[in-house]
Symmetry: C2
Subunit: 269 residues, 2 copies
């Protein structure tokens, strides 16, 4: 096996470059030990910018003694062809899949850029912004009367991962995600509020290992009772008893990333 | 040209399916008029699940008289080969790019799934969660003393798009993004706070068309003075004068989506 060397990587697009980065990172994640030096170059949307980038790639290939790897999504054929001829290993999404996709669909592509992440459909876009605002304003369980508007409601103890997961559901999937933090008062009553239980079909419960929870809480409020392992253990245990009693679907944020939690929730609905 | 018919599309993965969805959506966005019925099937991570999905694809092809389009990222060769033989138009990311990428890098892939969006590197993951918490707790300009910890600070009038853009920067790019809403008081003083100006190299200003701003504010507080076109026009004008005076980079949230704003900001740093 050869020694791990560093490789230059570019994510290139006429628009945001979000797709180029997503598929490039996914492919690179398969080469664990290699050090990739990543450069992000969105908005390469004129011949001049493409030529400047091609020239940069040429210089880099000479200076580094090897060609950079370029992940790109280029809709404009002329700009694409400039980069295709540059000194680099060129991986372009549309080139690779379009011919076959045209054959499969029997349709012709529009070849317009910025459609997937731009302001193309204003109504859709405003609906997405609205979901983000919904997640932010229903983040603390204080507006129980808005729960009927939710697509999904996450419940869990403080710092179990509800907020980041809600934001991901809103930003990435356009879902109206509320959350309800279980409080001391709920534990004392031994019950969750009626407004929440009425929506129990939409509820997903998050659990977390007490050790991990204590570490997260310690960062937030060092040396507080709130962050003690004893208290975390007790809260997690009582919460799990409740989840079980109400028959909620329970997901574990100790072993799942927010993307995984969000994907599991989206899949389950 | 043939009439637009609906087509079934699947996003498939052993893990979250986020990459499969991103590249599939990007390709489909090039076929504007066609109606695609999209199904999201993450966590196809066993032979049994793959066989069940292959069988579903077979039934669908029969029922719909045409094969579904499948965008997939399948790391496991055995699972991949089950789907590859299913009755569908199969577009798989790794198959398509890996052989050439192996040649370009001279390295062998690990063929492990869930690396790009899973909990693989806990330190990295916690750093990302930390950026989300940072964005949330620095969302209202109330903690000026934390601005030195920011990677970027967005300024603009209320509802100009600062919060969703900050959250996107945090969630997608892992950047510590704070924001400062310009208040009535700032306009009266004719100045922004020193704590902000000290960090002016990190500041990006958001502007927005007054008509659009008024419409957004009207949704939030109907029939308020805050939502009048007169007031929006005045605030935007005064804010732009300030941005110009301080030499801030100004981005327009009327014409750019939050993804585009975030990409422009990331590129500029």
């Amino acid at each position: 096996m050869t020694e791990a060397v560093s490789r230059s990587v570019y994510f290139v697009s006429e628009s945001t470059g979000i797709t180029a980065e997503a598929y490039g990172q996914s492919l690179l994640s398969q080469f664990g030990d290699t050090k990739f030096i990543k450069r992000y170059t969105p908005f390469i949307n004129t011949r001049e910018k493409a030529q400047a980038l091609a020239s940069e790639l040429g210089h880099r290939a000479e200076a580094e003694g090897q060609q950079a790897i370029v992940f790109a999504t280029m809709v404009d054929e002329e700009i694409n062809s400039i980069l295709k001829q540059a000194q680099c290993h060129y991986f372009e999404l549309f080139d690779r899949f379009m011919p076959e996709l045209i054959e499969a669909t029997g349709l012709q592509p529009t070849r317009k850029s910025g459609i997937s992440h731009g302001l193309v459909n204003l109504d859709n876009y405003e609906a997405r912004i609205d979901t983000i605002n919904y997640a932010l304003s229903n983040d603390d369980g204080m507006r129980l009367n808005k729960f009927d508007k939710a697509d999904v409601i996450l419940v869990g103890v403080s710092r179990s991962g509800k907020t980041p997961t809600c934001l991901y559901l809103a930003l990435h999937f356009g879902m109206r995600a509320a959350n309800y933090p279980i409080t001391e008062e709920d534990f004392e009553r031994g019950e969750l509020p009626d407004e929440l239980l009425k929506q129990s079909a939409k509820v997903f419960a998050l659990t977390i290992e007490p050790e991990r929870l204590a570490a997260i809480r310690e960062l937030r409020r060092p040396e507080s009772d709130y962050a003690t392992l004893r208290r975390c253990y007790k809260e997690v245990q009582m919460a799990q008893d409740m989840f079980h009693r109400y028959g909620f679907t329970v997901l574990d944020s100790t072993t799942h990333s927010i993307e995984e939690l969000a994907s599991l929730i989206k899949k389950s609905l």
